[in-house]
């Protein structure tokens, strides 16, 4: 009954909104309108009553059938009387099943009608296809279906929803191919009575600007920026529980306890750890070691229109008390500060991120001679400016420029006798390009990236992306 009242209220609200009152309207007109609305309301009530009756009837019928099915003996007797053949039992069962199915469908439809305003399943998705051409080594040019994602969100009721994202990367996934198939998000979120939001499952860590907002239509440039892939390991998700809330003055907070990293996965012989230290030891909910859990917290302030100021911290041990492991006390800590300002046609942003892995001396001693020991710290920052230059119909052209500086191994824990690896200089990358949006859901991108240290990486990128 509660629900019905709500439905009526919603209907009334909708009716008022769809019938704007003009100040200059005559009293007669006004009365006519009110009468019409009253009549519509009566109709709505009647329809609702009918629908409720139908639901009740259908439920009653369904209960009868269920009761009949549960008593096979009486069912077959009734069937025998009706059909009077030796195959009566089978026929009756079949008839009963058909009726039951029909009734069940009707009931479900009626329920769905009643609850339409609260529940529902939304299918969405995004994808991107990129082309990279190193300008000094064209033979390394590559085209890749970077990702195709199907997202399903289901709202159980007004307060409870399930969010999921299923992703395929690099086109082909098989034991002998390089693609990956993965679950990127899978969590339940419930709005609590006090306005807080609780989350449980596999969800994105609220770090930086890109991680929780990683659809290709949401960022500038063909490739995601380096700082938020090499330092913050986007798309970074963990399994755990989270709690979020909004306070006055436009402040949003997030906190939670989740799985963390597994330093036991560090491979000092490969370059993976140099490309993205945390990306090489993330667990992604895949049989994730959970002896050590991690804490995270984030604050984002949107108190002035167009401005976002925020920061986050994530910290957790990464050794998991593994037998025979030399870095059981190692702790991974990552924090970031970010800002985005969108006055008029401008879209300006800046971000700083720094990660640390502590207590790796003994582990790195076992890695001497290898090219990729565990870094003690890694950090980077970028600043970016985009400007909406042209808008014509569905088309929006936004050129942008981004400068970023990052180092995936800014320092190493002490290794005796100079047997450690030298830290390298920060890499500095300038990216110049443009996003051409077609409507809200499609984007074509082109940019050029210039590397200050490893000039062989200079490249031209083209990409298409979409999100719906």
């Amino acid at each position: 009954m509660k629900l019905n009242k709500k439905l009526i209220a919603v209907a009334l609200g909708a009716a008022f909104l769809s019938a704007p009152l003009h100040a200059g309207a005559s009293e007669k007109e006004l009365k006519a309108r009110m009468d019409k609305m009253a009549a519509e309301l009566e109709e709505l009530k009647a329809a609702l009553k009918a629908s409720m009756q139908k639901t009740a009837e259908l439920e009653a019928r369904q209960q009868q059938i269920v009761a009949a099915e549960s008593n096979n003996a009486s069912a077959s007797t009734a069937a025998a009387t009706a059909a009077a053949t030796s195959a009566a039992t089978a026929t009756a069962t079949s008839v009963a099943t058909n009726v039951a199915t029909t009734v069940a469908t009707d009931v479900a439809t009626a329920r769905a009608e009643t609850a339409r305003s609260a529940s529902g399943t939304i299918l969405s998705g995004y994808g991107e296809i990129n082309y990279n051409r190193p300008t000094k080594n064209a033979s390394a040019a590559q085209t890749d279906i970077r990702r195709a994602v199907i997202a399903i969100e289901h709202r159980f009721d007004e307060k409870t929803k399930m969010v999921s994202e299923f992703e395929w990367e690099h086109g082909v996934v098989s034991a002998s191919d390089q693609g990956e198939s993965e679950i990127e998000q899978l969590y339940i979120e419930r709005e609590l009575n006090n306005g807080l939001r609780g989350k449980v499952g596999l969800f994105l860590i609220p770090s930086g600007l890109l991680n929780t907002n990683h659809e290709p239509t949401a960022y500038y440039g063909v490739e995601r920026n380096f700082v938020e892939t090499a330092i913050i390991p986007s798309t970074w998700r963990e399994v755990g529980v989270g709690l979020s809330g909004d306070t006055a003055f436009g402040l949003t907070w997030d906190t939670g306890i989740t799985t963390g990293f597994d330093l036991g996965k560090w491979d000092a012989t490969s370059t993976e750890g140099r490309d993205s230290p945390l990306g090489s030891i993330h667990q992604e909910g895949q049989l994730a070691k959970s002896r050590d859990l991690a804490f995270h917290g984030a604050l984002n302030w949107r108190g002035v229109p167009g401005l976002l100021l925020g920061g986050s911290v994530f910290s957790g041990k990464a050794g998991h008390n593994t037998e025979g492991f030399a870095a059981n006390d190692a702790r991974v800590t990552l924090y970031d500060l970010h800002a985005r300002y969108t006055p008029g046609a401008w879209d300006l942003s800046a971000l700083y991120a720094r990660g640390q892995i502590s207590n790796t001396e003994a582990l790195n001693a076992t890695f001497v001679g290898n090219p990729t020991p565990v870094p003690k710290s890694f950090a980077g920052w970028y600043t970016q400016a985009a400007y909406q230059l042209l808008k014509s119909g569905d088309y929006t052209l936004s050129p942008f420029v981004r400068y970023e500086q990052f180092n995936t191994a800014k320092s190493y824990a002490y290794v005796p006798q100079g047997l450690g690896v030298e830290t390298g200089p920060d890499e500095k990358v300038t990216t110049v390009g443009a996003n051409l949006k077609v409507g809200e859901g499609v984007v074509l991108k082109a940019d050029y990236q210039k590397f200050k240290e490893d000039k062989s990486r200079d490249r031209l990128n083209l990409g298409m992306g979409f999100a719906y």
């Binding site: 009575n193 449980v200 000092a268 012989t269 025979g324 030399a326 001497v368 290898n370 006798q417």
Partner: protein, 396 residues
């Protein structure tokens, strides 16, 4: 509010898991792993039973001595055997330690031959490997499986054998022999002394001891892809799953060893042991590209050995390492000169297979006149490091 409380409660519960010492979990009793299965206990007896040989003086343990890491006690290139223990062998005896994780032979996706037992990988299991020595004329030299089983019938433990495998088991030589090798396999897999993982290096990996300066320098040279590059085939790091390193990737390599005239068979100029492509192994005879390739052995306990490589060409680690890094820069140190005075490299292979020798990877990728990948002092450091791979390290 109830929802908030339940979320907080769950949060607290999860947080609780990350701290403390898990005191609520019952401590598992420290049971000694030496509780061998009945089969393994039989295997242990068979392993050291010299009466199962034609000579009556040779058991598995004679060549695979338990106090020498289940490897040879002496520096003979190949151990003699036969009825009078005077029939010369062909290959150096490997250690039987750390065999429990060796996979059966297969070609990896990239074509790399991998795994298997015996130096040519032809035995698919430890049990299959255990058959050969009983019957080989230069080893225990039994005439047949029936011959072995007849000897078994007189063993002190025959009652145990029959109790485990059935009273009539020895009536069928084939079946009885297969149970013997199965029991040997069980012993090798179960007995902790075959895989103790208690070397200094293991304790170092666990963060419990530190390596000395020379040992650490040696490890760095061992790992360094531009120096020793040893870890390329003898991995030294724990696996992503936390597994202890075995110091072998189970692959095969062709090192182009010098011919070892201490193996009497080499007196015949036509004699060549070509590993994967034969003559002992027969199924890959057509794979001429694999001729000369032998299995990469574990380096655990390598410092306890006095004979190295499949043909036992060297008797010291210093020579073995010197050969790796100076084979191509100073071939005259390792190979004889031909009639024309030119050094004959890779002379333990027929000329047509010498191109199979690995000359591409560090430290082989050199020519005369170039500096060896490791200096004499660096070789000494690597030897110091290899010493940390000897089992049974006690922290002083």
């Amino acid at each position: 509010m109830r929802h908030l409380l339940s979320v907080l409660a769950a949060t607290a519960l999860l947080a609780g898991c990350s701290g403390g010492g898990g005191s609520s979990a019952p401590a598992s009793p420290a049971t000694p792993i030496s509780n061998l299965s009945a089969a393994a206990q039989l295997g242990q007896k068979i392993f050291s039973d010299a009466s199962l040989s034609a000579s009556g003086r040779q058991s598995c343990a004679s060549c695979h001595a338990p106090d020498h890491a289940f490897g040879p006690v002496n520096d003979l290139s190949a151990q003699p055997g036969g009825p009078n223990l005077d029939t010369p062998g062909f290959r150096a005896v490997p250690s039987l330690r750390y065999m429990e994780k060796t996979p059966a032979f297969f070609f990896a996706a990239d074509g790399t031959p991998t795994g298997g037992f015996d130096r040519d990988g032809r035995a698919q299991s430890l049990a299959e490997q255990a058959q050969r020595p009983f019957l080989a004329p230069h080893e225990m030299a039994n005439a047949s499986k029936q011959d072995v089983v007849d000897k078994l019938k007189k063993a002190a433990y025959i009652a145990e054998f029959r109790a485990l495998y059935g009273a009539g088991i020895t009536d069928d030589a084939e079946q009885a022999f297969s149970r013997m090798t199965f029991a040997l396999q069980a012993f090798e897999q179960e007995a902790p002394e075959f895989h103790p993982y208690d070397s200094k290096y293991d304790q170092f990996l666990a963060g419990k001891v530190q390596l000395s300066d020379a040992e650490l320098r040696g490890l760095a040279l061992f790992n360094n892809p531009q120096k020793g590059n040893c870890a390329a085939c003898h991995p030294s790091a724990r696996g992503a799953d936390g597994a202890s390193p075995l110091f072998t990737d189970f692959s095969f390599d062709n090192l182009g060893l010098p011919r070892n005239t201490r193996i009497p068979a080499t007196a015949d100029p036509a004699y060549f042991d070509l590993g994967l492509c034969g003559p002992d192994r027969t199924d890959l005879a057509d794979r001429k590209d694999l001729c000369g390739a032998f299995k990469v052995p574990t380096l655990r306990n390598v410092a306890t050995r006095k004979v190295f490589f499949h043909n036992g060409a060297f008797n010291t680690l210093k020579d073995a390492l010197g050969f790796y890094v100076r084979r191509d820069t100073n071939p005259e140190e390792w190979y004889p000169a031909g009639a024309d005075g030119v050094i004959v490299k890779f002379n333990d292979l027929p000329p047509e297979y010498r191109a199979n020798v690995n000359t591409a990877e560090v430290p082989y990728n050199r020519k005369p006149g170039m500096a060896p990948a490791l200096s004499a002092a660096e070789i000494d450091d690597v030897i110091q490091f290899l010493g940390t791979l000897t089992d049974g390290y006690q922290k002083p």
